[in-house]
Amino acid sequence: MSSAPTTERGTWTEAVRNRLSHTVPEGQVLPDRQPAYVASWIYVFGVLTLAGLFVVIGSGVVLSMGGATWWHTSSLGHFVNSVHLWSVELFFACMVIHLWGKFWMAAWRGHRGLTWVTGVVAFLTSIGAAFTGYLTQSNFSSQWISGEAKDGINSIGVGSWFNVLNPAQMLMWHIVLLPLGVGVIAVMHIVLVRRHGVVPPLGDEEATS
C-alpha cells in the first residue's frame, strides 16, 4: 500500500497516512474541475441534500441550547422548531430527487456500488433520525406515534432495548447517536464520490478484450 520510502520500522502513523492519502486520487478532494458531462441540474440535488443536512443540524443545535421543551413556551423556540421541521422536509425531498437521478443514471457503474449502498444506508439512518425526532416533540403526536410504533418494534423483539415509550432514551438517539450515524455515512458517501469521480454517461462503456 505504501509507496513512500519507509523507515526501518514502518510506523502506524505512516500506515494511516498512506492509507488516507490514497483514499482519493491526488487533487480530487476538492477539485475545481469536473468532467464535461457534469452539466445538468440533476447534479445539484446531492449538494442540496448536504446543505439541507447542515440546516437540520444547525437548527437542531439551536433547539438544543433551549432544551427539549423550549419550543412549547417560547415563540423563538417555536420558530426554530419550524425551521427544523421544514429543513427536514427539504432534506428528504432533495435526497429522494437525488436518489431518483442516481437510479436513472445507473450511478453504481464503474465500481461505485459502495457509493450506492452508503447512499441507501444514509437514507435509512435519516428516516430513523426523523422518527426519533417525532418522538421527541413531547406533545400529542409523540404520544400517538410512540404508542403505534411500539407495536412494530415489539413485534420483532427489539422493544426491550429500543423503547419508543421512553423519551429520555429517544431524545439521546435523536440528538447524539443517529446524527453521528448520518454524519459518518454522509462523509463516507462523499469521500467515495470524490474517490471514483462522477459516473460517466451510460453508453460510453468499452468492451473489455
Binding site: D32, R33, A36, V47, L85, W108, R112, N154, L165
Partner: protein, 314 residues
C-alpha cells in the same frame, strides 16, 4: 462477471474525460444559502404544529367513562397491555412471521403489571378511607375472585348505555367499582400526572407505564383517528391539520391498508419483514440482474447527458 456469452462492459474512468471548470465550494455555499432561506421562509409562513399532550386529567375530563372502563380492564387483565406479551409480560406469544416468534424471543425486558397501573397510584392516596377500604377488600380476595369481579364489572360497563358507570346493571363486582371511581377522581384531580413515571424517583423520564395506561383507553386512538392519524388511514404518513407529514413513509404504511396485512394479527412483524426485504433489494440493486438494467431500457439518462451525446456524435 465475464462469461463465454458476452464480454463485460467496462465503465471508463471519469478522470479520462475532458473537463470544465466547476466551483464546488461556491455551489455548496449557494445551496446552503438557498436551503437556509427556504427553511426560514417556510417556517415563517407555515410554522409547525404543537398539538398539546393528552394529560391524565384531560383524559378524565373529556372521557370519564373511558377512564373507568380502562381501570376495570386493567384490574381484569383484559386490556391491550395486560394481554400484550413481550416485552411487558408473558400473557401472549405475540407476533410471528415466517414461523419466527420474534416478539417472544425478544423476552420480557420491560416487565409491567397492568393491574398495578391502577393500584399503585391508588395505594399512594392518603386520607381517603373509601379508597383504603376498597384496596383492603381487593387485597383480601384471591386472584381468581379479583379477575371474576373485575371482568364482570368491565362486561357490565360495556353493556351500559354509553358505557356510563352510573347506568351499570346491579351485580357482584366487589370493590372494583369503588376502585375505578377512585382512580377517576385521582385522574380528574391531576394526581395521576407523573404518578406512573416519577413516583418514588422524582426525576422520571421514562413514560412507558403512563403511555401504556393511556393507550389502553379508547380516547387516545379516538383523538388520533379524528386527526386522520390512524393506522388504517395511512396515518404513518400524516401530520395533524394540514401540516406536511412524512411522505417517505408511503410504502411502509401502504401494506397496512391492504390484505392480507390489514386483517392479520401478525401485520406488524409481516410488514417489517417485507419492508426489510424491499430495503435490501434497494440496497443491493447494483447487483440484481434485470432491475439494474432498467436505466438502460428506459433512457431517462439521455436527457441528463444530451450535450455529451451530441458532442460525441458530431
Amino acid at each position: 462477471m465475464t462469461t463465454l456469452q458476452h464480454r463485460r462492459r467496462e465503465t471508463p474512468d471519469s478522470h479520462d474525460y475532458p473537463t470544465r471548470s466547476y466551483d464546488l465550494v461556491k455551489e455548496f455555499v449557494i445551496a446552503l444559502a438557498l436551503v437556509t432561506g427556504l427553511s426560514l421562509v417556510l417556517a415563517g409562513i407555515f410554522s409547525s404544529p404543537d398539538d398539546p399532550s393528552i394529560t391524565m386529567s384531560g383524559w378524565a375530563k373529556a372521557a370519564p367513562s373511558d377512564v373507568v372502563a380502562t381501570a376495570a380492564g386493567e384490574l381484569a387483565g383484559t386490556t391491550t397491555s395486560a394481554t400484550y406479551g413481550a416485552p411487558y409480560n408473558h400473557a401472549s406469544e405475540g407476533q410471528s412471521v415466517l414461523g419466527l416468534k420474534l416478539q417472544k424471543w425478544g423476552g420480557v425486558g420491560i416487565p409491567v403489571n397492568s393491574a398495578d397501573l391502577v393500584l399503585q397510584p391508588l395505594r399512594g392516596v392518603a386520607g381517603d378511607p373509601r379508597t383504603a377500604l376498597a384496596l383492603a377488600a381487593w387485597d383480601a380476595m384471591s386472584p381468581t375472585q379479583q379477575t371474576q369481579a373485575a371482568t364482570a364489572y368491565a362486561d357490565a360497563l360495556a353493556k351500559a348505555p354509553d358505557g356510563d358507570p352510573t347506568a351499570v346493571a346491579a351485580g357482584n363486582y366487589g370493590p372494583v367499582p369503588a376502585l375505578a371511581q377512585a382512580f377517576l377522581r385521582l385522574a380528574q384531580s391531576g394526581g395521576l400526572e407523573g404518578s406512573l413515571t416519577s413516583s418514588g424517583t422524582f426525576y422520571g423520564g421514562d413514560q412507558t407505564r403512563s403511555m401504556l395506561l393511556l393507550a389502553d383507553g379508547a380516547y387516545l386512538e379516538d383523538t388520533a383517528v379524528a386527526d386522520h392519524l390512524g393506522g388504517d388511514q395511512w396515518g404513518m404518513m400524516n401530520e395533524v391539520g394540514n401540516y406536511p407529514g412524512q411522505p417517505w413513509m408511503w410504502l411502509y404504511t401502504f401494506w397496512y391498508q391492504v390484505k392480507p396485512f390489514s386483517t392479520s394479527e401478525n401485520a406488524d412483524a409481516q410488514v417489517w419483514m417485507l419492508m426489510m426485504g424491499l430495503t435490501l433489494v434497494l440496497m443491493f440493486l447494483p447487483w440484481i440482474p434485470g432491475l439494474r438494467s432498467i436505466p438502460r431500457w428506459i433512457p431517462v439518462h439521455r436527457l441528463v447527458w444530451r450535450d455529451h451525446y451530441r458532442r460525441r456524435s458530431s
